[in-house]
């Protein structure tokens, strides 16, 4: 079943068409990645999907409810972490969560229990009574996520949730996304971090200039645009580029203390490298292969559009 469904969404701001005929469907229980370059229309789309903005044309259904006809019922199904938006700095983390719980109509006993639970999960228990304005950026983002998940939403929208966070906070956010998904929430995630989308999402959708230009699984998107793979190799001493003039190696690029070799046939290249190293009496210190990247596919797709 599609838990998020958008049909022919269009939104203009004066002469600028921010979103143009966007159609989306997200299946229940999915982690859905929404990618696009700056100014592509990601944030406008998420604002249309969450009922913050009204489209000029088109409809959005959340769990079967039309968000622009029944905004309150539809919003009860979701938690939202808007980009650049934060919680109330003058309130403590605990007060912010209580407020959030009240907004979702949670009864007091359940609210109190969930506030403690979520604060503990987000690592904010010790500072729950301090005003949020005294928090670091990572802690503020954790408080923001805590407010969005307090009512165990069916759909969680996250707009660039890990942008500008330190490693620990980023990991905690990713863990929370996984955990929410395991507990049954559908995740709609926009991110600039292609690697994050690659590892987290089952389906990735790419928007460019207000239009959806691709939607598929990360693996299929990668294969659609690039069949070239690469082999990264390093040796115990410097070698010249001539070493890589062999059949099967399309191109060789120095990459720090390694060489990256592009090929259609990694097996042939690996065998060549091992044999050549033996003949030249040099030691291979590391050897890795990698497939086509989602980043490459993203760049190609957004360039083509």
């Amino acid at each position: 079943m599609d838990i998020i469904r958008a049909d022919h969404l269009k939104k203009t701001f004066g002469p600028v068409t921010a979103v143009n005929d966007v159609n989306l469907s997200v299946r229940e229980g999915e982690i859905f990645g929404f990618l696009g370059p700056n100014g592509a229309g990601k944030t406008t789309t998420i604002r249309l999907l969450t009922g913050v903005l009204t489209p000029d044309f088109g409809t959005v259904h959340i769990n079967g409810i039309d968000i622009h006809r029944h905004p309150l019922d539809a919003k009860m199904q979701m938690g939202v972490i808007p980009e650049n938006s934060t919680v109330y700095g003058d309130l403590s983390a605990e007060q912010n969560l209580q407020l959030s719980g009240k907004m979702y109509g949670m009864p007091k006993t359940l609210r109190d229990k969930r506030v403690d639970e979520v604060l503990s999960k987000m690592g904010l228990s010790e500072k729950k009574r301090l005003p949020v304005r005294t928090f670091s950026k990572g802690m503020k983002q954790r408080a923001s996520i805590a407010c969005a998940i307090i009512h165990r939403p069916k759909v969680l929208f996250l707009d660039e949730p890990t942008s500008g966070l330190d490693v620990q906070s980023r990991r905690l956010v990713i863990e929370t996304i996984h955990e929410m998904n395991e507990q049954g929430s559908t995740i709609f995630l926009t991110t600039h971090n292609i690697e994050e989308a690659n590892t987290l999402c089952r389906t990735v959708c790419i928007i460019n200039k207000g239009m959806i230009v691709a939607q598929d699984s990360p693996e299929r998107l990668k294969k659609m645009f690039d069949t070239t793979q690469s082999v990264e190799v390093s040796f115990d001493r410097p070698v010249s580029r001539d070493l890589f003039a062999a059949e099967g190696i399309l191109r060789a690029e120095p990459c720090g203390d390694k060489w990256r070799l592009y090929t259609d046939n990694p097996d042939q290249v690996l065998k060549y490298l091992v044999g050549r190293a033996e003949r030249e009496a040099i030691t291979i210190t590391s050897l890795t292969t990698s497939g086509p990247s989602l980043e490459e596919a993203f760049v190609r797709i957004t360039e083509c559009a």
């Binding site: 009922g51 903005l53 309150l72 019922d73 009860m76 938006s85 934060t86 907004m103 109509g105």
Partner: protein, 249 residues
């Protein structure tokens, strides 16, 4: 109709949030509380004025400033602090946000003005001749002023000082043309025409009717104008805020 309880709950929660966060903000205390008191002292202290005559006007001015001081601050403050979009993403609508702002302003206005009225009973020998009209004046007056406050927040950017300056630019002239310092009977020409356009005039008149038993218009007219003004301010505020929603977000 299924959404009505959610809508009402949204208004209540937003009102509670506004009361907690904005009542103690310096612009509210300055322009909502201190300013009308200073105005009162500036005009009445040391002058041989009949307090009984002017007190209903002063009470109306107090209510006007307190009730209309909260509304203009909230939206710009929330946009500046980047909490407005999060608020919109909760199960609330822009209407519940506007009404939550209006109710928070109205409660502030009623609370402070009632305190002033109770305290003043020890110093000023002013009686209430019609308690029903007095309660109506409080409720309808504060509603109109709080709705005006919400309207003044409509051109909201993310700069609270700019909005406060704009709101004072509108509010200050109103107190001079609404029968507070110059009784309506003594006004002529343009001044009188402007007085008829100010909802504050009808609030002052209703307080006069309730406290001294004298009024220029009938209480029905006063109440009718205040109700229409409240509804008008809220509707216009809704239209402008919808148009300006993206400003500062």
């Amino acid at each position: 109709m299924m959404e009505a309880p959610l809508f009402l709950r949204g208004i209540l929660v937003i009102t509670g949030k506004n009361m907690r966060l904005y009542y103690t903000k310096p612009p509210v205390l300055m322009f909502g509380l201190l300013f009308p008191l200073f105005m009162f002292f500036a005009f009445f202290v040391g002058r041989n004025l009949d307090l009984e005559t002017f007190f209903p006007g002063f009470l109306a001015m107090m209510l006007f400033f307190t009730a209309s001081s909260v509304g203009p601050l909230i939206t710009p403050w929330e946009k500046r602090e980047k909490t407005y979009e999060r608020l919109l993403s909760y199960p609330v609508t822009q209407d519940s946000i506007i009404l939550g702002d209006v109710v928070a302003g109205a409660v502030f206005g009623i609370g402070i003005s009632l305190l002033v009225w109770i305290a003043s009973r020890f110093f000023v020998p002013v009686a209430v001749t019609n308690i029903g009209l007095f309660i109506l004046a409080f409720i309808l007056g504060t509603l109109a002023c709080a709705a005006l406050g919400a309207l003044l927040a409509s051109p909201a950017s993310d700069s609270p000082p700019n909005v406060m300056i704009f709101s004072n630019l509108v509010r200050f002239p109103l107190i001079f043309i609404s029968g507070i310092f110059v009784p309506l009977e003594q006004m002529q020409g343009l001044g009188l025409a402007l007085a008829y356009c100010s909802p504050l005039t009808y609030m002052v008149d209703l307080f006069n009717a309730a406290m001294s038993g004298t009024s220029v218009f009938s209480p029905v007219t006063d109440c009718g104008v205040l109700i229409v003004a409240s509804a008008g301010f809220i509707v216009i505020s809704r239209v402008i805020q919808k148009r300006n929603m993206m400003k500062g977000m």
